[in-house]
């Protein structure tokens, strides 16, 4: 062998450098696609006062007596939806994984239905079914709101089921269940002390997606005459110039904050999950 080591390193090094450049280029282009509209929106939101850049639009937004109630209502709806959805999806997915693996495709298909049925069709179906006796549930604002939350629970199924299902596949559900059983644990103990804690990351990502959907949902809330953030935003777009942009930036910030929290809380748990996968 007479090949010098120097030439060998050069031939190895070049493609790596080129690859890295290409990666950064792609990353840059994609970032622009994402950042330009964001920057434009932010710039627009700062022009609330004539000839001066400032936070006037934000001040007006928070001064609007309809904004905070709509916002808090959406948040409460989202939290209620997450809670109910977890209570329905986790035991279902757990039981399907453990005892009825053959039913998995069926359950998966059912959870995907909200993707297949357009929201407009869904909401008219719901209104027709639930606004006449014997199922008259839309008589008052609050009862309608409860119906709305249950509809959101359905909308969350595709996201929630997928996350939970992935989480369950990452741990050895069957053996962990059997180990807990042989140590004397009943179903409740197994779910709350073994299964839920090991699904932390999956549950959080499902919860985040659900949160994002409920916060931004427009169609169903609008037709059910609910004063949530979606209808408020659409109203705002039609009547104001700068506030909708400010509103978009606020919503964006909240979403990122939620993601940051999830990342922070989830960090401790990821290593456990990875370890089980490695086994």
């Amino acid at each position: 062998m007479t090949t010098s080591p120097a030439s060998a390193t050069v031939t190895v090094k070049r493609p790596v450098v080129r690859n890295r450049l290409v990666s950064w280029l792609i990353f840059g282009v994609v970032s622009l696609y994402f950042l330009i509209p964001l920057a434009a929106t932010f710039y627009w939101s700062l022009r609330g006062m004539k000839d001066v850049l400032g936070f006037e639009a934000y001040r007006k937004l928070f001064a609007d007596t309809n904004f905070l109630p709509a916002f808090s209502q959406s948040i409460v709806n989202a939290v209620a939806t997450i809670f109910l959805s977890l209570l329905i999806v986790v035991p279902t997915a757990y039981w399907v994984t453990l005892r009825l693996p053959k039913l998995r495709p069926v359950v998966e298909f059912i959870t995907l239905l909200p993707f297949v049925i357009p929201a407009v069709v869904l909401v008219f179906g719901i209104i027709r079914l639930y606004s006449a006796p014997p199922l008259l549930f839309t008589a008052t604002y609050n009862s309608s709101r409860i119906v709305l939350i249950f509809v959101y629970v359905c909308l969350s199924f595709p996201y929630m089921f997928r996350s939970v299902d992935n989480g369950l596949r990452a741990i050895d559900v069957r053996t962990l269940t059997e180990a807990a059983q042989s140590l004397g644990a009943n179903w409740g103990t197994i779910l709350f002390r073994v299964i839920f804690p090991n699904l932390r990351v999956a549950l959080l990502s499902g919860a985040l997606l659900t949160f994002a959907i409920v916060i931004g949902e427009l169609t169903i809330a609008l037709y059910m005459a609910q004063h949530t953030l979606g209808p408020y935003m659409s109203d705002l777009t039609r009547s104001k110039v700068y506030e909708p942009s400010a509103m978009a930036i606020v919503a964006f910030a909240i979403t990122w904050a939620a993601m940051g929290i999830i990342d922070f809380v989830g960090r401790g748990a990821t290593r456990h999950v990875q370890m089980v996968e490695a086994d």
């Binding site: 180990a179 042989s182 140590l183």
Partner: protein, 353 residues
Amino acid sequence: MSYLSISHVTKQFGDTVVVDDFNLDIEKGEFVSFLGPSGCGKTTTLRMVAGFEIPTAGKILLDGADITDKAPNQRNVGMIFQSYALFPNMTVAQNIGFGLSVRKESKEMVAQRVDEMISLINLEKHALKYPYQLSGGQQQRVSLARALAIHPQVLLLDEPLSALDAKIRVSLRAEIRAIQKKLGITAIFVTHDQEEALSISDRIVVMNSGLMEQVGTPFEIYNFPTTVFSANFVGSLNNASAEVVDPALSLISIDGVQFESAVDLKERKKGDKVRVAIRPERLSFASEQKKANVVDSIIENITFLGSVVRIRVKIGNTKFNMDTFNNPFLDLPKIGAVEQVTCSREAVLVLDE
């Protein structure tokens, strides 16, 4: 009355019979292994004792109580899995204390028992670590401690060493046996590894396609196999089909070469087809004084295996392995040479065809 009694237990999944009429009485403090290839029903039998499967027929009695249909969390049994099955969200101490805290024992009592168990498995330094921070062998020791913490009536081990590497496997198996003896706990150990079963057990149950082939001490199983399957599965073995020549004198013939056996053949008739099994280490080159079972053979091949040298010889038309201990002054024959080989009458096992 035995401590754990499995009587006429059968398990079917649909039309497939996985365990067929399993009968076994286990004494208190006994260490019993279920040995067999995968799919032989050994794990299913263990899982029926644990309560994860319900027998299709038969009864399981533990200390006089019928536990056949009891839920797993109502039977006081400890279970150890091949994949350790430690709870990833709990520390070593929390894992070991889980069974006790589920039983609503007081905090002091749980803490005391956890300390006891941790020192039993020598993991004092690792009490606050999570399972992912431990090696496979350490994890399996934690799972042993977790199972023992609840004072189980029986300890069930489902291939606990199969996921570990060879050295740890041997040392952990000795540790498991030592702990089992120290606590005097009754244990059932499922394995497909014959060496493991032979080295660790008081008794072995050899299983094949749902049936019990043979039950006995490791010594009996190895030296006096009663079926072709258990003879073949445990240890390496030469076996050949043969014919009874003279039942009264226990003479059989393998392709015309006659062997004398110590087995009583009076129940059989002349001309009966049988299977003859001879362990490789029971064959040797014939010396002057040996008279019985001296036959001519052609040396076919010689393989050096370290402590043992395996010589392949052809007797009549049948090939046999012959094992001899290695030593530096061993005088090995040439390949193709004709040598006389011999084995004692006791080494010639006669089994049903």
